[in-house]
Structure formats: structure tokens, C-alpha cells
Symmetry: C2
Subunit: 409 residues, 2 copies
């Protein structure tokens, strides 16, 4: 057992959480901004203090290295350190900090490992400044080009390449961010849901990152005068769209957890209080960790959309807006996480990740697994994010112990 203490996790979260903290609450730390630069330097300092060899690659990924006796492919852990606007101190950050604490524990409790272990603070995952998330992992795997960096622009028109250069990076040396020596990747992350907390479980072993299908539904009815058109004479597109939204919920519930379905926006046209809506559009976000079950949910929602609008004399057109297939996590690493948690006396359960993570890009190129620690009240992307230091330390201890076993095994 390589143990990480709750006090260390609390201190690390407190220290990094001050960087980009806003007076009214919440953290604003978009990639390549001043707060991000300060966070990068803080993390590099933390890694140095942990006794690791630090380097920053040209896109801004920060590495802390604990060189092994035997060399060879690297056991990598980490997560991202950018935040959404007014986000919390845990999403991404906790995985980086747990990695730093784990490597410090490895070094001080177990000495030089056989194989090399590294922690990485990935520069960007949230996509909240540029419409390109996973910038850090994509650079590592050569999935982003110099041209992409010129085309990506923030709200002020600044390109990702300019922003990177201003923050001390170097878009001309993008290739130097590539790695071909990664043996495996482990990412600790907050759950961002309430399943672990509700069940009182310490560790979630992520089975995979869910597949996502986003649809747009356009409902066509007939615009009419709200005063002169009797209730029975209407083809009200807004009401038909409301029924589609409720049908999405009903379908997701019928397909049962972990299926989820969300309608995040709904717009009626012409959108005046005194006009029966002639048309309406709504978004549908459907997720499931298994590709076949996701497709079954998509098919069911599509069928229900058509059938609930028809009795109103409306029609529905369903178009695909976005699709990302599920990314299963590595079975051997998952088994090792379960065994280690059990050995340490922690409770653990399989859990799908409903959100995207750096691990989904990593999983395409290297054996990858994730462990979740509980999120209080399931909150995330919010100043209300919180994970108890004891719970965070249990996760970091599992991480450190698995890394130790992998490094020596």
C-alpha cells in the first residue's frame, strides 16, 4: 500500500483552487489565460516540491517524472487543469493533484520504481475558450494540426496558436508534444453525479465513457391567432414539442439507468405570446455506455417524437446533430482498480462515465482506465463542486498503489 493522506489532498486542492478564484465564487481558468498560466506554474512548483522532474511541452501540458530503474514505456496518470467559466476546484484539478500526491507517495514510501511513472497536468479539456476540447491529449497523440490551431478562435478572435504563444507555448513545435512511449493511462476524476454518494461507495471504477447522440427535432404545426382560434382547431407546435420533450424523458426512464436523455433547449416560432406557435425546435441529448443500447434509445426517441406530434396535426423532422461512440475502458486495468480498492478495504462499484474525459482520447491509443471519487450532491461545473478530502485521499491511495504495482509488476 502506498498511502496518500487526506490532509495533503486538502492542502493541494486549497492551493490550486485559489488560482482563478472569483470574488463572488467559482473559478475561471480558461486555457492560456493569465489564471491558467499561474495554475501551470503552480502545478510545476508542486511537482518540483514532490521531487519530480518537471517539464512543460509546447502546448502547455505539464509533466512530473519519477524515472524508473529499468526505463521503458511510461505509466502515465493525470487529468486537465483548465476550468469552465465559474467552475469548481475539483473537475480535472483533483486528478492532477491526486497524481502529484501519488507520485510523491511512491517516491517517499517505495523509492525509485522499476518502471518510469509520470503525472501530467493536461492543458485543456473543457472546450470553454476554443471549440476544441481535449487539446492536451490530442496534441500528445498527433490528433491536432498547426492549421487547427490557426482556425480555432476564441470570442475575441484570438487564435489558439496566438494564445498558446502568448502563454509561453510554441505552436511551431506542436510535434514535440507527441508521445510514443506511453504504456498506460490512469485518470482519477470526480464523479459529477450522485451515484457513489447515494450508495456510500468509495471508488467508482469507470466501465467506459458513454456514447452520445445529439438530435435536433423540428416540429411543424400551424401558426394561428391565440385569441380567435378555438382549442380544437389548433396544430400547436410548441405543445407538440413539449410532448416530445416529455417523451424523451419517458424513453430514457424506460430504457433504465444508465440511459439518460435531455432536452436542454426548446424554441418556438414566431415566439410571440399572442400567436399559436407554427413551428418549434428542440435539442435531444441521449447517452448510453453500450453502442447497441444507445442506438435503441435513439430509435425509440425518434419513433416517439413522430407519434406524439401526429395527433396534434403536427409533423416532426429528426436530424442527427452529433455522435460520439462509447469508449470502453481497459478491462485489465479496471480489474486491477477493483482488486486494489478491495485490498485496501474500500468499497468500489462499476460506473459508466456520462461525461467526456481526456481518457476517451487516451483510450484510442493506450490501455486506459478511470476511477471516480464521490461528488457531494452530484454537483459539477459549479462552485458547489466538493469532494471530501478523506474520499479524495482514498482515490489517490488506490491510484498510488495501482501505479506502484504496475511499476514493479
Amino acid at each position: 500500500v502506498v498511502a496518500v493522506a487526506a490532509e495533503e489532498m486538502a492542502a493541494l486542492v486549497e492551493r490550486l483552487g485559489q488560482v482563478g478564484a472569483q470574488p463572488g465564487g467559482g473559478i475561471v481558468r480558461p486555457v492560456y489565460g493569465p489564471a491558467w498560466v499561474k495554475a501551470r506554474d503552480t502545478l510545476a512548483q508542486m511537482m518540483t516540491e514532490a521531487g519530480l522532474d518537471v517539464r512543460v511541452d509546447p502546448v502547455g501540458n505539464v509533466y512530473g517524472r519519477l524515472a524508473g530503474r529499468a526505463g521503458g514505456p511510461v505509466l502515465l496518470t493525470g487529468s486537465h487543469f483548465d476550468t469552465v467559466p465559474f467552475g469548481g476546484a475539483y473537475d480535472g484539478a483533483l486528478g492532477v493533484l491526486a497524481g502529484i500526491a501519488a507520485l510523491r507517495a511512491l517516491r517517499t514510501q517505495a523509492g525509485t520504481p522499476a518502471r518510469t511513472v509520470e503525472v501530467v497536468a493536461l492543458c485543456e479539456e473543457e472546450g470553454s475558450r476554443f471549440h476544441a476540447n481535449f487539446l492536451g491529449t490530442r496534441a500528445i497523440w498527433g490528433q491536432i494540426t498547426r492549421e487547427d490551431l490557426e482556425e480555432l478562435r476564441d470570442h475575441d478572435g484570438v487564435t489558439a496558436a496566438q494564445a498558446m504563444a502568448e502563454a509561453g507555448g510554441d505552436p511551431e513545435r506542436l510535434e514535440e508534444a507527441r508521445r510514443d512511449d506511453i504504456a498506460s493511462f490512469l485518470e482519477l476524476h470526480i464523479e459529477q453525479g450522485a451515484k457513489l454518494e447515494r450508495r456510500g461507495v468509495d471508488i467508482g471504477v469507470v466501465t467506459g465513457i458513454v456514447g452520445l447522440t445529439q438530435l435536433e427535432v423540428e416540429v411543424t404545426g400551424r401558426a394561428d391567432h391565440a385569441g380567435t382560434t378555438a382549442m380544437g382547431d389548433r396544430s400547436d407546435a410548441l405543445l407538440a414539442a413539449a410532448e416530445v420533450a416529455l417523451a424523451v424523458e419517458a424513453a430514457a426512464r424506460d430504457h433504465a439507468d444508465p440511459a439518460v436523455g435531455t432536452v436542454g433547449w426548446l424554441q418556438a416560432h414566431p415566439g410571440a405570446a399572442n400567436v399559436v406557435a407554427g413551428s418549434a425546435r428542440l435539442s435531444v441529448d441521449l447517452r448510453h455506455p453500450e453502442a447497441e443500447k444507445l442506438q435503441a434509445l435513439v430509435d425509440d426517441v425518434t419513433e416517439r417524437a413522430h407519434s406524439v406530434v401526429a395527433p396534434r396535426g403536427c409533423s416532426a423532422q429528426v436530424t442527427l446533430a452529433k455522435h460520439a461512440p462509447p469508449h470502453p475502458m481497459d478491462e485489465a486495468l479496471r480489474a486491477r482498480l477493483h482488486q486494489t480498492a478491495t485490498r485496501l478495504g474500500y468499497s468500489a462499484m462499476d460506473i459508466p462515465s456520462g461525461a467526456g474525459h481526456d481518457s476517451q482520447t487516451m483510450a484510442r491509443f493506450a490501455p486506459t482506465a478511470m476511477l471516480f471519487v464521490p461528488s457531494r450532491d452530484g454537483r459539477s461545473h459549479s462552485p458547489a463542486e466538493y469532494t471530501d478530502p478523506e474520499a479524495a485521499a482514498k482515490g489517490a491511495t488506490v491510484l498510488a498503489t495501482v501505479l506502484h504495482d504496475l511499476a514493479e509488476g
Copy 2:
């Protein structure tokens, strides 16, 4: 019987309908614009051709007068001649044209009447250029001030006073638009609904203009990650708002025709496809011709809004956005319209007006009544507006005959 022929109604509709007609269909004739000026002059010409004494008041109301032998208070008929953007050739216009045809028929078929009869083409009713509908009727009754005309601005910042002056009117002489000699007002209008057509009834005798209450409902739930939050853990404000919209419909149906309830817009916040909505706002438009029944509907909708959102862990705040009381029409004039229609062999029925009309302002100051003629498929505020010339002529004949009886009685 003073009869108006279908051919005359068809010709008048055809002639005025060309003014402001757009190449792709629909009429655009906002008050004081070039098309409106042309329509004003066309109507003045039509009135002259009908043998009437024509004058235009300072706000742009066009009068055609058939002076009576005895003088005294005036029997007025008419409607408005502005249109909504891409409106039809019948809303407002048909009431003006029926009035012109009726007065021509009176003059040619019955000679000089005992009392004076006038037709008015009111300058503005739709509120589609300035946020002040009933400009014409309000000027007649001193319900608008010189200051109002300076404060009302169109989308280009032009004041109503400037626009009026540019169109040949005179805001300085606003007082000259006032009338204190109106004995009664009769307005013919298209139904803008499908009740007459569906029942095959010729004439709708308007019982009153419905009362209107507009509410805004704010639903508060909790914003959550669409991927990580299980269906059972959500307080989805958009779904709660969808249930409110359906509850508005259910309440209006339960309160039975002529009650109507409409949700014309619904907006979710933050309004992203991948975020469970934390709050949502929607409009509610409720109408009923009887004040007590309207209030009962408002109370019922308010109660249902609270009760449908509660099981979702959401709350609703209901605020009053707008209220206009019902305006009952004059009973004696209504009885006369019924009797005359029956005498002429036309079918007639009582019908409430779900929309606002110039008659609601007139009714505050003089005995007022309205008659509706059928709208094909109930369409209005649309290029699809249509009323059969035979049906329009029946309405105009009832109008002419009632005016004749009033003028001689």
C-alpha cells in the same frame, strides 16, 4: 333591404389588396408608410366614387359622409386599413370596404337618409409599426396625447409624430381628430377563426370582445450535467415548463369554448443541449368573454402551474404581464343585427371576438356592435386570409340595412 352585390365587394377587395402587396405574397401596409399613404388615397377615391363627402382628419382617419336631412349625431361604420407585416387583404380592410359599399347602396337605393351616416377608414389598429394600437379610435376619443406621439417610436427610431407629418398628417392638430357627435358604431370584420365556416353560418353577431390576461411563468429547477446526472436525480426546469404548457391547454379545454389558453414562447436557461435546464420562462395568454370566467381560468392555470412542477422538485413563479377586461357589445344593436340577418334570410349566431378590435375602444364611448363574416379555414394575419365575395356581400347587406333602419328609425 339595402343590398350590396358580391361583384362590388370582390372588386373593392381586389383594388385595395393591390396596395402594399408583396411579390412573394402578403400585404405590408404599416401606418404612415408609402403603401399606407397610397391606400389612404385609394380609399378617399373610392368614397368619392361612392358619392360621399370625403375628408381626412389630422391623424389620417378617412371619412366618407352621407349627410342626412335631419343632421344630428352620426351613425358611424368602418374599420382600420393598416396591416400586419405580410398580412392579408381582409383583416380591417373588409370592414372599411363594406362600409363604403353600404353607404353607396344607401345613397343609390334609398336616397338621402334622415340621419347622417359616415364610413371611417381608421388609420391604425394593428400596432405593428408603433407599440400603440387603436391609434385612430384613440384619437377620435381623445385617448392619445401629443406627448404620446413623440414617445412612440418605430424600429428605426422615427416617432409617430414625425411619421404622421411625413404622411401628410398634422400632430399639432391632434385635437381636431376628436369627435363628440357619434351616435353609434358598427364594425364588420372577418371572424379570424373557423366557427362560422364550420357551422355554415353567414353572420356572427359579436357578443363582446374577450378579456385577456397574459401571465409569465418562471420555473426554477436545478442545472445539472446532462451526461452524469441520472434521470431520477434531476429537477429539470424545461420538462416542468413543458408540463405547465400542457396544463394551460388542459385548463382551457376544461373551461370549454370560448375559453382559450396559449403558450407562445418558452425559453430554457442556460439553454445548452448538454445541460439540464436550471430555469425556464414561458408566456401564458388566457382569454374569455366573461370577466368572472376569465378570472376563474387564470386562477386554475396558476394553481395547475404550481402543482405540475412540484413533483419535479421545481417551483413556479407566476406574474401578471398584461390584462384587458372584456368589452361587451351593445345589446340593442346586437338584437337589431340578429333581426336584420333573419329578415334577409341569412343564418346568424352569437360569437365572442377572441381578438381585439377598434370596437373595444369605441364601445367605451358610444353604443357599438360588430358583425363577423366567415374566414376561410379560420386564417388571418396571413396571405391565406380569404372571405368569399358572396359571404362578404351578405355581411355588407346586413350592415347597409341596419344603417338604413337606424337612419330612418
